[in-house]
Each structure stands twice: as C-alpha cells, then as structure tokens.
Amino acid sequence: MKRISILDYGAGNIFSIKNAVEKCGYKSILTSDFERILKSTHLIFPGVGSFDNCIQKLKDKKIYEKLKALENQKIWVLGICVGMQALFNYSEEGKKYKGLGIINGEVKKMKSDKKSGPRKVPFIGWKNVVLDERKKKMKIFSDTTPDDRFYFIHSYECVPKKKDNVIATVYYNKKNVCAVVKKNNIFGCQFHPEKSGEAGLNIIKNFIEYENMN
C-alpha cells in the first residue's frame, strides 16, 4: 500500500497537490510531523513564494534540520518548484538562509533578456521539456511524450554541480534550464505537475508508482 504524505508547512497550495494525487487514484495526508513522514512511502514537498519564506516556514515547523536527512531514507521524495530549489545548497534569492544541501549546486536568478533568456521574469507559461537521452526510460517519464507541455512559474533556476542529476531540461532561447533533477531517492521538478493538465498528472502518477522501499 502507498502511504503518501504532502509536506504541510504553510507554503504553497497543498490542496492542488492533494487533489491531483486523488485524481491519480491515491489518498494522501497533509503533515509536517517528521516521524509520520518517515513512515510514508512517498513524500511530496511543495513550495511557492520566495526561498527565504520557504526556509523560514520549515524552521518555524522545526523540520528544517530533519529534512536534511531525507537522502538515502527509504522514502521517495518529490520537491516541486521552490520545494525543489530548497533541496540545493543555496539560492541567490536566499538572503538569510541556506538550502537543505541535499543536491549539490545552487539556484540562480534568471535574467530577463529578450535574446538569451525568458522575455519576462517571473517566467510564466507552458513549455515542452527535453528528456535526457540516457534517462528517458526512467519510470518518472513513462508515457511522457515530446508534445507534453508543463506549467512553469519561476524567477530562479536550479544549477546542479553534477550534470548527471539533471534528467530533463527546458529550453529558453538557446539556453537549457534544469526542469527535473534526480539524486537517488530524491526528485525535484521546476514546473508544477499538479497544474500541468494530464501530462502533469502522469508525472505524479509515475512518481507514486515507484515501488515502496519500506
């Protein structure tokens, strides 16, 4: 049986994620209790708003330090948007706080530039993603097609140190930006799968269908 938790720490529209999980045919609980999280098979870590705001709220809930230990636990983790960015060492947006440091790398401000970057920042829109040749057989992408579009809304981009962590990218005028990362049991995606129509629901379903490790 799947035991799915959605990290409830006051950041982001967790109800959208709960609804999306339900649409995929699964039940989920909203929690910020780390003991309960460790008993889950899958954890979704949402996030909207600013980086500092997200980390501040994790600290308020007294789970910031604990979450650092998620790597190599027997639980699948999916960070979404700022929830993905929080997995990195630090962000240019984070004036006060560092990230969880689970994935080595940084989060950088995207430059609004008509030639080489998104036209406006925040970038809001639907884009296709390019799956890494060697990674596209991964379960997370099963039934994903090149025509699938995903909903992005962000001003910052993740830049992992190890290129191997990047499993899909999104193309902004001549520049590839990290769209999905994976490190061991941890996934992160920059777009919002819960708001990306059927293509996004498919990613959530694939994530949940990773076999239980506990």
Binding site: F15, V48, G49, N53, K120, P122, I153, H154, G197
Partner: protein, 244 residues
C-alpha cells in the same frame, strides 16, 4: 507561448456573462463549464465572483472546491477579496492565485501584504480600465461601477512596485461587446509591462485575437463570451489563431 485563459464570472451558483461588466444573465453551470474548458485544453482559469460584496461567499467556496477537484491548470479567484483571511480562505479552497482590484485601490499596501504572505506569483492585480481621452484610461473599482480618477499608467507602475506578479487588464469599453480587444490600450502600456500581462475583454471572432497578439508584450488573454455564449471550442481557437 501565449496562454489562453477561460474567464468565468459567477453570481451565486450561476455562470454569467455581463456586457461592459454589467448584467447578470445566467449562461450555464460554472462547474460543468470549467470541466469542459479544462478538457478542451485551456491553459488557465479565472473565476470572478462578480457580486461578491453584496452576497454571501459560501457559494463561491463550494464552487472553487468543486472546480479545483476537476481541473489541473492554474486557477485564479477574484471578486470581493478584502482581507488576508479572505485570501487564505480561497487559497485553501483550491485557488492558486488571487485577483485583487477594489481593495488594492483602497489600500495599496494590501498588494504588498499579499505578495509577502503567499508570494508575488500568486498576487494578480486586476485592473478594470475605461477610456477617458486619447491615450488616457481611468481605473474603475467595484466591478466597473465606481470611477476612481486614477490614471491607468500610474496605477500599473505603482502596483508593480508593490509586488504584483501579474496584471489582468480588462477594457470596460470592450468587455462583452464582441467588438475586438482594445488594441490601443495594450499598445499604450508596452513599456510598462515588466511583469506578465493578461488582456481581457472584447473577443468576438478569431481576427480580434490575431490582431491582439501582434502586440508581443501580451503574455496571456482571457476570454468569456466566445466560450460561454458563442460556444466555440478552445481547441478551435488555438488551432486557428496558432497558439501552441
């Protein structure tokens, strides 16, 4: 890249289609319509509770919750949101963004308060504008009923400074008339649109949209009548107007 947004104005349990933001003619069930537009491929949805200040809000909460269970694209809710508690309420019902008009004009700090609390990406400033003289538009509040004397260009700059993440700009003159978008209005703000801009009001046929999209600063457009009353499918609009 341009986003197609279905705009649903609500009164009580009904989807309505006003003309120049006036009138409450029911044109269908908002939940059925929302589902239909989602399946046809709309990129986003905006729900405006058009008489929110006059009626109870329980209907709205119920409608948002039901729609949020059926559609998996971003959902913006506006109309009569006055306090941070109102914002939290609609977001807890399943909205991803809020659209703020009247209360932002009355208390501009409200914009900052919201973007600090839920993030600027969820803070959509809704501006209803009416032409005053060539090149000048005035901001209206209370769903197009009350003039403010505030100049549109001034107000746009101010709301961007205060932390608005997106602008929903409706032409009151054009809204519901099927006479085309107010192209002059959107051309006049090209230099100000540092954040994503949603054009709204006036689409009666495909040419109107093709004309609007010549303005490359338009990031999204919101349509209502052509969907609710003319019953043209979103797929058809996307195909004919070449929106991916």
């Amino acid at each position: 890249m341009c986003r197609l947004i279905a705009r649903l104005d609500i009164k009580g349990n009904n989807l309505i289609k006003p003309i120049q933001l006036d009138g409450v003619m029911p044109v269908g069930c908002p939940i059925d319509r929302a589902k239909k537009y989602y399946l046809e491929g709309c990129d986003e949805m905006i729900l405006i509770d058009s008489v929110a200040s006059l009626y109870g809000r329980n209907h709205l909460k119920d409608i948002i919750e039901k729609i949020a269970k059926e559609i998996f694209v971003p959902l913006t809710v506006g109309g009569g949101l006055r306090t941070l508690d109102n914002i939290i309420d609609v977001m807890n019902s399943g909205a991803d963004k809020v659209a703020i008009n009247t209360q932002a004009v009355r208390k501009p700090d409200f914009i900052k308060q919201i973007s600090d609390h839920v993030g600027s990406q969820s803070m959509v400033i809704q501006i209803d504008a009416k032409k005053k003289s060539p090149g000048k538009w005035e901001v209206f509040v209370e769903n197009g009923k009350e003039a403010t004397g505030i100049d549109l260009h001034y107000w746009m700059e101010k709301t961007i400074d205060l932390g608005a993440g997106e602008i929903l700009l409706t032409s009151i003159d054009k809204e519901g008339t099927r006479s085309g978008f107010d192209v002059d209005l959107y051309n006049s703000i090209k230099h100000l649109a540092k954040i994503p801009l949603i054009a709204s009001g006036g689409m009666g046929n495909f040419d109107h949209l093709i004309e609007l999209l010549k303005n490359k600063e338009i990031d999204a457009f919101a349509i209502a009548d052509i969907l609710h009353v003319q019953n043209i499918s979103i797929k058809t609009i996307k195909n004919i107007c070449d929106i991916n």
